[in-house]
Amino acid sequence: MRAQENSRPMIDRAKMVRALHEFLPVTAVLFEAEDLRPYECDGLSAYRHIPWLVVLPETVQQIQQIMRLCHRYEIPVVARGAGTGLSGGALPLENGVLLSLAKFNQILDIDPRNRIARVQPGVRNLAISEAAAEHGLYYAPDPSSQIACSIGGNVAENAGGVHCLKYGLTVHNVLGVKAFTMNGDLIELGGATFDSPGYDLLALMTGSEGMLAVIVEVTVKLLPIPERAQILLAAFDNVERAGAAVAAIIADGIIPAGLEMMDNPAIRAAEDFVHAGYPVDAAAMLLCELDGTNEEVSEQVMQVRRLLQQCGASEVRTAQDEAERARMWAGRKAAFPAVGRISPDYYCMDGTIPRKQLAHVLSRIGEMSKEYDLPVANVFHAGDGNLHPLILYDANRPGELERTEEFGGKILELCVAVGGTITGEHGVGVEKINQMCVQFPSAELQQFHAVKAAFDPLGLLNPGKAVPTLSRCAEFGAMHVHGGKLPHPELDRF
C-alpha cells in the first residue's frame, strides 16, 4: 500500500472542483484559503492541516458520487462529523478531500415499538435522546461533548461517556449502519434486528476511525428512561481509599450507572468553574450514580452509602433533588473546560487500566509530573478503568508542547505496561499512533493493515490514522529502546 497521505493528487485542484460542481452546488465545494481554515483541525487543535478541498454534500447520492470520483483519481478522503474528536481522527490532509457530513442532521424515524431510532450521521448525540423522550426512551452513550458531537463520529470513534459500565459504549448501542466503501458501494450492516448474517462487520466498523467506510445512516437502540436516578458524592483523604471503594461497590454486586473519580486538582478546577459544591480539600472524590426502579435505587443508595463509609470516606452526600443531581454532574462533565480555564492549554489523555492498578498509576503520573515539570489533573471513569489525565501546559512556551507530548506518551505506555490500553474511548487518530507500536507487535499491526485493505485496497480512506506503518514503528522504536530490547526486531533499520 502506498503512503497515500503523502502522495500527490492525480488531478489538479481546479479540475477536481469543476468535476465536483457537475453534481454539487457551488456553495458545497470549498477551496479558498479562508473557507478551508475552519476545517484545519478537529477537537485536538494541537494538530492542524489545511485540507486540499472541503465538500459539503446534502444527499446520499452526492456522497456516492464524491466517493467514486475520489476513487477514480485516487484522492484520499477524510470524513468529518461535528469535529469534536479528541485524537485528530478527522485531521484533514493537504492532498485530500475533507468530506463534511454536517448537513446530514435529520432524525429519519423514531420507532418506539421496536425501540430504535434511524438517524443521519450528522445528528447530535443529545438530539436523539431529546427526540425519543416523549416515548419514555433515550440513547444511552453520553460522551461529555454530547450537546455537540454527532452520531456518525460517535460510531467512527466508538465513543463512550460516563455511563458505560452499565450501558456500554457506542458499539453496544448501535444496531445498524449504512455506509459507502471507498469505491462507492453502499453497504448495509445490521439494521432493526439484534443480529445479522455473516461476519460482524458492524463491530468492525464501530471505532474504525473512518478508515473502512463512510457512514451515511445509523440505527441506534433506545432504552426506557430509568424510573429514577440518584447520585452520591463521596470525599476521600487519599486516592487509594477511593480506589478501594470502587472495587468494594462492584464486589458487592452493584453495577452503578456511573462511577466517576476526580483528583484534587480536577475537583478544584471544576468547583471554581461550575460551583457544584465539591469538597475542594479532598484528595479524591467519587460520584456514584444508581438508576433503575424506585425501589431498587432506594435499596442500593443505602448499600453504597454504607460501603463508602466503610471504605473510609470523609464525607458522603446524596443529591437531595434533581437540581442538585444535575449540579453534581455538571462539575464532572465540565471538567475539561474547567481545566482549560486554569491553564493556557491542556492535553487530554485517554488510557484504560485494570481498576486495581489505579493507585499505582496515579502515583507514577504524579512522579512524572514532577520530572516533566508539568501539572496534571486526573478525571477517571472509575467504573470501567478509563483514565483521563489532563496535562496542563502553555503552547507559547518553546518546547513545552513537545515535553507534554512525550509525557503523555509515557502515560500511555504506563497504561499498556499495567495491562491496559492506550485509548478507552477517544480513538488513536494521529495522536496516539506511535503508542500503537507499544501496544501491538508487528504481526497484529499487519493483520490490521490486511483488514483495512479488505475494505479499501488503495488505502484512500483517512490514510495515516489509527494504525501505524511498520516503518513508522521502527522509527519510533529507535527513540524508545527499552531495557536494551529493540521493539519490532524483525524490521530492517535505516
Binding site: A192, T206, G207, G253, I255, P354, T423
Partner: protein, 354 residues
C-alpha cells in the same frame, strides 16, 4: 482442575503446517454445535484439550479462559463469587467457550443484557497463517485498533482459531422470578414490546404459542413491585424453564423438521409462513419448524427487514445462512482472505464460497 493445559503452541504449529500444505482444517471444540452451519470436511483440529481459566478477577468483572474450557466450568467458578455469564449462550451438551464465541449465539436474555459479542473484551487467535495474535484486552473500554475480537464472534472459526477469550461478567441478581400469562399471539407480541419499553427489570420475554413468559431480575423490592404491575401467574421452576429454552430442550425443538431462526424487528406482527412458531427475545428471535422452501422463508423474513437461517436439520450442504448482497459478499471474501489467505480454516462452514 488437573486437566487444564495450554496447547496453543501445538495448535499454531498444526495451522502453520496446514497453511504450508493448503490442507483444510475442521475446528472442533466440545462438538455441541456440529449440526450448526454448513457441512464441511477437513482434517479435524481439536481444541478441546486447550482448556482452563487463565485469570478471573471478580472486582474487575473479567474472566479469561482458554477456548476449550467448558462454559459450565466457567459458570461454576463465577457462581462461587456471586457472578454470572450474562449472555446465556446455549450449552446444548458440553459447549466450550470457544464454540460459544465462534457461533455467537446468545440466550433469552439477549435483548436486555446484551449479546455474547457485547461481552467479548479480547481474544487470542491463530490466524490462517498460523500466527498467534492478540486483540482487545481485559479492560472494559478499548478502542485501540479495529475491533477484531468482536469480528471473531459468529465467524464460525473461518477467520481464526480461537485460543483464549476475555469476557466481561456481571453480578448475579439478588432476586428473580418469572411470570406467565395465557395470551393470543398478536396480544403477546404487543405486550412483550410494550413492557420492554417501560423501565422494568425484565431480563427475558418469550411466547410459546399459548403463554407469554416474562423474567424479572433485580433487587427484592424492584422484582416485587414489577411483579405487581405485570400480573400473571408465577412459574414454579423458572431457571429450568429458561435453560430448556436456551438449550432447545422444550418439546417444540424435538423432531427432524427443519428448524429456522428468524431475526426480525421485535414488534413485527405474525409472519405468514406454514409451520409452528416459538417467539424469544421479546419477538426479535423467532423459531420456526417448517418444511417451507428456503427462498420462501428468507423472502418472508427479508420483507419485514429481517433475516432467516436454517438452524438445524434440512440440507446442510446447501447455503444455510441468509444470502448477502453482492458488495457485502465481496467484503466477506476479502476479509476471509485477510485472515486466512489459503482458505484452510473451516472453509464453507459459513457460506459455500469461503
Amino acid at each position: 482442575m488437573n486437566n487444564n493445559s495450554d496447547i496453543s503452541a501445538q495448535l499454531a504449529e498444526r495451522v502453520r503446517e496446514a497453511h504450508t500444505k493448503g490442507t483444510a482444517l475442521n475446528i472442533h471444540g466440545g462438538g455441541s454445535k456440529d449440526f450448526y452451519g454448513r457441512q464441511t470436511d477437513g482434517e479435524p483440529l481439536d481444541v478441546s484439550a486447550h482448556r482452563g481459566i487463565v485469570s478471573y478477577e471478580p472486582t474487575e468483572l473479567v474472566v479469561t479462559a482458554r477456548a476449550g474450557t467448558p462454559l459450565n466450568d466457567i459458570e461454576a467458578a463465577l457462581s462461587e463469587r456471586g457472578q454470572m455469564i450474562p449472555f446465556g449462550a446455549p450449552r446444548f451438551v458440553n459447549c466450550t467457550l470457544g464454540g460459544a464465541v465462534a457461533s455467537g449465539l446468545s440466550g433469552p436474555g439477549r435483548p436486555y443484557y446484551g449479546a455474547l459479542r457485547d461481552f467479548v473484551l479480547g481474544v487470542k487467535i491463530i490466524n490462517g497463517k498460523g500466527e498467534i495474535l492478540n486483540f482487545g484486552g481485559q479492560v472494559m473500554k478499548n478502542v485501540a485498533g479495529y475491533d477484531v475480537s468482536r469480528t471473531m464472534v459468529g465467524a464460525l472459526g473461518t477467520l481464526g482459531v480461537l485460543v483464549e477469550i476475555s469476557i466481561k461478567v456481571l453480578p448475579q441478581p439478588v432476586s428473580k422470578l418469572t411470570v406467565q400469562k395465557s395470551l393470543a399471539t398478536d396480544v403477546a407480541l404487543d405486550a412483550m414490546n410494550r413492557w420492554s419499553g417501560r423501565p422494568l427489570p425484565i431480563t427475558a420475554a418469550c411466547y410459546d404459542g399459548n403463554n407469554m413468559y416474562l423474567r424479572l431480575c433485580g433487587s427484592n423490592a424492584a422484582v416485587d413491585s414489577a411483579r405487581k404491575k405485570l400480573g400473571g401467574e408465577l412459574v414454579e421452576t423458572p431457571d429450568e424453564f429458561w435453560q430448556k429454552l436456551r438449550d432447545h430442550r422444550h418439546g417444540f425443538f424435538s423432531g427432524e423438521r427443519p428448524l429456522w431462526r428468524l431475526s426480525v424487528p421485535p414488534a413485527t406482527p405474525q409472519i405468514s409462513l406454514p409451520g409452528k412458531w416459538y417467539y424469544d427475545w421479546g419477538g426479535a428471535q423467532r423459531w420456526l419448524r417448517s418444511d417451507a422452501p428456503t427462498e420462501k422463508v428468507q423472502a418472508a423474513a427479508g420483507a419485514v427487514g429481517g433475516y432467516a437461517e436454517c438452524f438445524r436439520h434440512g440440507d446442510r450442504a446447501a447455503e444455510v445462512f441468509h444470502p448477502l448482497p453482492a458488495p457485502l459478499m465481496k467484503l466477506h471474501r476479502n476479509l476471509k482472505q485477510a485472515f486466512d489467505p489459503r482458505g484452510i480454516l473451516n472453509p464453507g462452514r459459513l457460506y459455500k464460497d469461503f
